[in-house]
Amino acid sequence: MSADEKILFIDYSRCIGCESCESACRFVHGQPRINMTRTVGGIMAPVYCRHCESASCVKGCTRGALMKAADGMVLLNPVLCAGCETKNCILACPFGGIFCTGLDDAVAKCDLCQHRRAMGMAPACVEICPCGAMHYVTRQESLALQTAEYEAAHRKVMEHVRPVLSPSPRKERG
């Protein structure tokens, strides 16, 4: 059962686009794994990995560099990543949550601050968000946070990230 798996959940209706999350991530990880985007209409929102239950990026990576961990996280194993030119993972992710770095480690993605959590700390972005828009919660708890305001704001951002479809995190089939 995956309802107890912890994920990052950003309430776009609370977010003011201040970029504190991106800054904290950049400071902790060098290369930010959460990035600010601005829609044509001027809405600022950070795009990030949703750690999908059925993750397209894991299926899309032919080298097995992306894997679903036991606790539900989607993790990147940079040793196996070939930095393929097609960047299948980036193309596969409907949320724009994997980022091209232009460096030796070709892509960067969120691991929910694995090393910080091992030391008993919360993900850095969640701690520095001045608006309280970032939640480190279980999938189950995140359902209660999906208010009508959230849905409306999320749809606007997703229409920008993926103009054709506006997806929601994928569930396991059956």
């Binding site: 504190s20 701690e127 309280g132």
Partner: protein, 377 residues
């Protein structure tokens, strides 16, 4: 829209307070960059003193940005954690002075003055995070009339009046005709603030179109939906004086029509004034919310211009040994996140400098890559 259950933690870099390292740092300014630097340094065991001219820490996060956007209690909680758990000492209402300069918004609330040299003598290092508090002006005739305010002068009292009623009064806009100049987030916040306080009519005036507006067309649509009026492609050339008993008070604002010209260096099409087409907008209150500039004290003495150009060997250190600078004071107005990053990097640099200097190994300093324009994009 519930607020996150994870409390704000400026000292997010570590798991908890470290054993004291016997060194002390003074931070001037308790805004995003100052608090982030204070958090980082206290994780390393520094004794941190934070000085701020305002009655409460938080800077523009608390006194400029409306509570609907940033909950003040979340910032207060983060500050309380720094004070109680990490032993950071806060000195509110204290301005570190350059006596020649007192025209920043918010100066009226500071009750004590401290000299920079005093801080330098009393601490191992000092960090200047004074932000950008000097409002930009339009430089047009009539801007000094009564009833003309800057964006900060309008927004600041809304929050500051809670702390000192005797010296701070909210600007009364009830049943008045308010014209706001600008199209950034502070202009939008002023416009919504005026609507919320019962203004009869609120108009936003912008020289370009909503497509170029820094706050984005979505915000403007929301402003219109709330009952505001949006006027684009007009630029003010004169604030009009009242007549008779209203002499010396604003009566309106004269604007000329613009059209869009060639894109300028940041890619937005510029506004070109058409000199013949004039309009007069009647107004009881005019708010010019066209941004702020940084006016850090001691800019010349600290050689801030060379820090900006990155001519000083140590990242974000000024001409004065052991005095560092971060945030808007260095880069000019930007976003909270950029100020946070700048504060963190300066704190890191400060700590490395003190550590290497204590061992007389300054020469081993590995040049940090400066914060690039790309990082601050």
């Amino acid at each position: 829209m519930p607020i996150s259950g994870t409390p704000m933690n400026f000292a997010f870099a570590g798991a908890g307070p470290a054993r004291g390292n016997g060194r002390s740092v003074a931070i001037i300014g308790a805004g995003p960059s100052g608090l982030a630097a204070a958090g980082f340094l206290s994780c390393l065991g520094y004794q941190v003193d934070v000085y701020d001219k305002l009655p409460k820490p938080g800077g523009l996060m608390v006194f400029g940005i409306p509570a609907e956007r940033i909950p003040a209690e979340r910032i207060a909680q983060g500050v309380a954690t720094l004070a109680n758990r990490y032993g950071v000492r806060f000195h509110p209402g204290t301005k570190v002075c350059d006596r020649r300069q007192t025209d920043d918004t918010g100066d009226e609330l500071s009750t004590r003055c401290i000299d920079l040299d005093e801080l330098v003598r009393g601490h191992d290092a000092v960090m200047l995070c004074t932000g950008s508090w000097k409002p930009r002006t339009l430089n047009i005739p009539g801007e000094d009339l009564r009833g003309v305010y800057t964006g900060l002068a309008f927004l600041f009292p809304i929050r500051a009046a809670q702390y000192d009623k005797s010296r701070m009064r909210e600007i009364d806009v009830a049943n008045k005709n308010v014209v706001v100049v600008g199209a950034g987030f502070s202009a939008i916040d002023v416009a919504h603030g005026a609507l919320g306080q019962g203004a009869a009519r609120v108009s936003l005036v912008y020289r370009r179109t909503r497509r170029e507006a820094p706050c984005g067309s979505h915000e403007i649509e929301q402003f219109e939906a709330a009952g505001g009026h949006w006027l684009e492609l007009v630029t003010p050339i004169r604030v009009l004086d009242g007549e008779g008993e209203n002499l010396g008070r604003v009566a309106g604002i004269e604007c000329i029509q613009c059209h869009l010209g060639e894109p300028d260096e940041d890619g937005r099409r510029s506004a070109v004034p058409d000199s013949c087409a004039k309009v007069v907008l009647p107004a009881d209150i005019v708010v010019t919310a066209i941004g702020e500039t940084a006016a850090p004290p001691f800019a010349e003495r600290l050689g801030l211009e060379s820090v900006r150009k990155n001519e000083i060997h140590w990242l974000q250190m000024t001409k004065l040994d052991g005095v560092f600078v971060a945030g808007d004071a260095l880069t000019g107005p930007s976003k909270i996140g950029k100020a946070v990053y700048s504060g963190l990097r300066a704190a890191q640099s400060l700590s490395r400098w003190l550590t290497l200097r204590a061992m007389s190994r300054e020469l081993e300093y590995r040049e940090d890559a400066p914060i690039s324009r790309e990082d601050l994009r």
